[in-house]
């Protein structure tokens, strides 16, 4: 069904990346009758090929091209070449994701005004408000089949949730549920309901979980307007003498360099690759990289304040059975500086299988303290903390010219230091998570450090004024009108919520904008 477009067809919209942002944008444009080529660095897998084994699945799906790290974050020490745990495959990280789908809160679009100046934090208000985004949130929720919206029932709670819920209620939390999940609790949109397989991160084999791979791209392809080219790694965006983008150079599946012309280019390679691509596209006219007149490309890298609490009980939990992340406490998500920090956080159920638990419980740890915890695996419950981290100019994706990838291009270096606010929030969350579990009899609680980043945000941020950021409120770069950013790197600030619903809502909104501008012939 896919529509092969000519390399010289300069009427197409070229999208780099097929994940939550790019896959949604491409499909939505195709549904509107616009011709789209999505270039995706990774392979295309079928749902049936996903593997119920953490390391094998990691080898199948994860982005393992070379990257480097720096800064004081522990990831730099324990996983120096794996700053992020994200996907290189058609569908992007929406293949890995757990499905938690939350709207940002009103004040989270206005952090500069709400939190005030905070030393070291490069806070800025979004150029849009919650109200502006509400219609697209609604559309995204419907499209993704988010539970507890559109009359869709919540998912049933698994064992991990039962412990989580009981603990949360015991210490007085009120907003506890199996959350809003883009996982079918009943058959919907030609996809069946959750079979409680428990390998949501490994690409759902039942199709209950929304991903661009199974729920968007096939719809787009069916229109005849969308072509997805897997194993196509974009190296550079090109422009003409007037500074307009003209197309991209990529390496195809056979290792051949190709040039795809374009009317519009949209970058959606996730927050590490997107700025890298803009920086690697530097030219005489744009010596600091494309769309970088503000100098903000790659800066303000955010990864959410995260951490986990695992707790061992004296009886079995089998936390790994069933939906990985269907469980949330929202009581700490609001803005309340009495806790000693700005911003808020969510607590969500989480489990890892034994192999990943060994790798992530206490990276580098060994000896009886570590192994006795592992011995308690079957009696373990777990939660993940996700909160707003502060954008900092020095937290940054840069080109590491000393290290080249398999194509000979400088790799991305990801530099990260926690802000004092992140640290204060994390210790509060560790305390609360521990209290929840101790309230229902945990014999041992383990505050577990952040994993390689799953939420990567902010490196091409939206701003009202061109000098403060990279893109405007439609994700259109301030500098180049036919160059867009369509992924989480647009986020001005991160909010406390898992980002993907917002990424999808922004992509749907951007599709309307692009279609409108195309028909007005302004781009």
């Amino acid at each position: 069904m896919s529509a092969p477009f000519d390399l010289n067809d300069d009427s197409v919209v070229v999208i780099v990346g097929s994940g939550a942002g790019g896959g949604t944008l491409g499909t939505e444009l195709a549904l509107k009758g616009i011709k789209v080529v999505i270039l995706e660095a990774g392979q295309r897998h079928n749902m049936e090929d996903f593997i119920n084994n953490e390391w094998d699945s990691f080898a199948q799906l994860a982005w393992t091209d070379m990257r480097t790290t720096s800064g004081s974050w522990r990831v730099h020490k324990n996983f120096p070449n794996l700053p992020a745990w994200i996907v290189k495959a058609v569908g992007g990280s929406s293949v890995h994701w757990a499905g938690a789908s939350l709207r940002l809160q009103e004040h989270e679009f206005k952090t500069h005004s709400t939190y005030g100046g905070l030393e070291g934090a490069n806070l800025l208000d979004w150029p849009i408000t919650l109200k502006d985004l509400e219609p697209w949130y609604a559309k995204a929720e419907d499209r993704m089949g988010v539970t507890r919206t559109n009359g869709i029932p919540g998912l049933p709670g698994n064992n991990n949730f039962k412990v989580f819920e009981a603990g949360a209620k015991k210490i007085g939390y009120k907003e506890v549920s199996t959350g809003r999940m883009a996982i079918n609790s009943e058959p919907r949109a030609d996809r069946g309901s959750c079979q409680q397989i428990g390998f949501c991160f490994q690409g759902c084999k039942s199709g209950a979980k929304w991903s661009t791979l199974i729920a968007e791209i096939p719809r787009g392809e069916a229109t005849g307007n969308l072509e997805v080219r897997p194993q196509s790694m974009v190296q550079k965006i090109e422009h003409d003498a007037s500074g307009k983008a003209t197309g991209v150079v990529y390496v195809d599946k056979d290792g051949k360099t190709q040039r795809q012309k374009a009317r519009i280019v949209a970058v959606a390679g996730n927050s590490i690759e997107s700025p890298r691509l803009l920086l690697n596209s530097a030219s005489n006219m744009f010596p600091d990289g494309l769309a970088n007149s503000s100098g903000q490309v790659g800066r303000n890298y955010m990864r959410h304040m995260t951490g986990s609490v695992y707790a061992v009980f004296d009886k079995p939990v089998h936390m790994y059975r069933g939906t990985t992340m269907a469980g949330i406490v929202r009581d700490e998500a609001g803005f309340d500086t009495k806790r000693g920090f700005v911003g808020g956080y969510e607590m969500e159920t989480l489990s890892l299988g034994l192999p990943f638990m060994a790798a992530f419980l206490d990276p580098g740890g060994w000896g009886r303290s570590f192994t006795s915890a592992m011995d308690g695996y079957v009696n373990m419950a777990g939660l993940w903390i996700v909160g707003e981290d502060m954008p900092q100019e020095t937290n940054r994706v840069t080109l590491n010219t000393g290290v080249k990838d398999q194509y000979g291009l400088p790799v991305a270096d990801v530099h990260f230091d926690d802000h004092a606010n992140d640290v204060a929030m994390r210790s509060h969350a560790y305390k609360q998570g521990t209290a929840m579990y101790e309230a229902v009899g945990a014999v041992r609680a383990m505050p577990t450090p952040p994993y390689p980043s799953t939420h990567n945000l902010g490196t091409n941020r939206m701003s009202e004024k061109p000098r403060d950021g990279v893109v405007n409120k439609h994700g259109q770069t301030h500098d180049i009108p036919n160059l867009f950013v369509s992924d989480g790197s647009q986020f001005t600030t991160g909010g406390a919520e898992n980002p993907t619903l917002t990424i999808v809502a922004l992509a749907l909104r951007q599709a309307d904008f692009i279609a409108g501008e195309m028909s007005k012939k302004t781009i």
Partner: protein, 178 residues
């Protein structure tokens, strides 16, 4: 145990270096044997004593009393092939083991693997913690030990589930003790 030589009892009398940690692990010819668990592991690139020490060290790093030696042996067995292929790896490992033994002998007059108490051995391992040899062995174990499917049931992890229909009818919410 596909990756080990399965010997139902050693055919020859094995030479045992002592009665320490190595416990049932003995060296015979070019092999490390564990008669109790009925397996043997032949080596050629590495010295058999080295392989035996690696197995002991693996357990000292990630001690699980319910996990039999053979899983530790499977976890460190790849160093034999790595040493055969790469002289630098071979040197790193052989020299690492010599260091462990030197440190152990200086303090206790006994090779590392023959020290009787885990605490004594761990104190020796602590002295090389963070070094290249230690890190290689430790980080290799994270996957080499915990990613063995046969180990999972010991920890109560059930592994792959889609092929069994998920947990929808297999206890995803069977917890009743709360």
């Amino acid at each position: 145990m596909p990756t080990l030589i399965d010997r139902r009892g050693p055919s020859r009398r094995a030479v045992l270096g002592g009665i320490g940690a190595a416990g049932a692990l003995m060296v015979s010819g070019a092999a490390v044997l564990n008669p109790r668990e009925a397996w043997g592991l032949e080596v050629s690139a590495l010295k058999p004593e080295t392989m035996r020490t690696l197995i002991v060290m693996a357990r000292d790093i990630y001690p699980h009393d319910r996990v039999p030696d053979r899983f530790y042996a499977i976890a460190v067995k790849p160093y034999e092939a790595a040493a055969a292929k790469d002289p630098a790896t071979k040197t790193l490992i052989e020299e690492g083991v010599v260091t462990l033994d030197t440190l152990a002998k200086a303090k206790h007059g006994t090779a590392y693997a023959d020290l009787g108490w885990e605490d004594q051995r761990v104190a020796v391992v602590k002295q090389i913690e963070g070094g290249a040899f230690f890190e290689k062995v430790r980080s290799g174990l994270v996957v080499g030990l915990y990613n063995q499917e046969e180990v999972w049931p010991i920890f109560g992890y059930e592994g792959s589930s889609a092929d069994k229909g998920g947990y929808i009818d297999r206890g995803f919410n069977d917890l009743a003790w709360l």
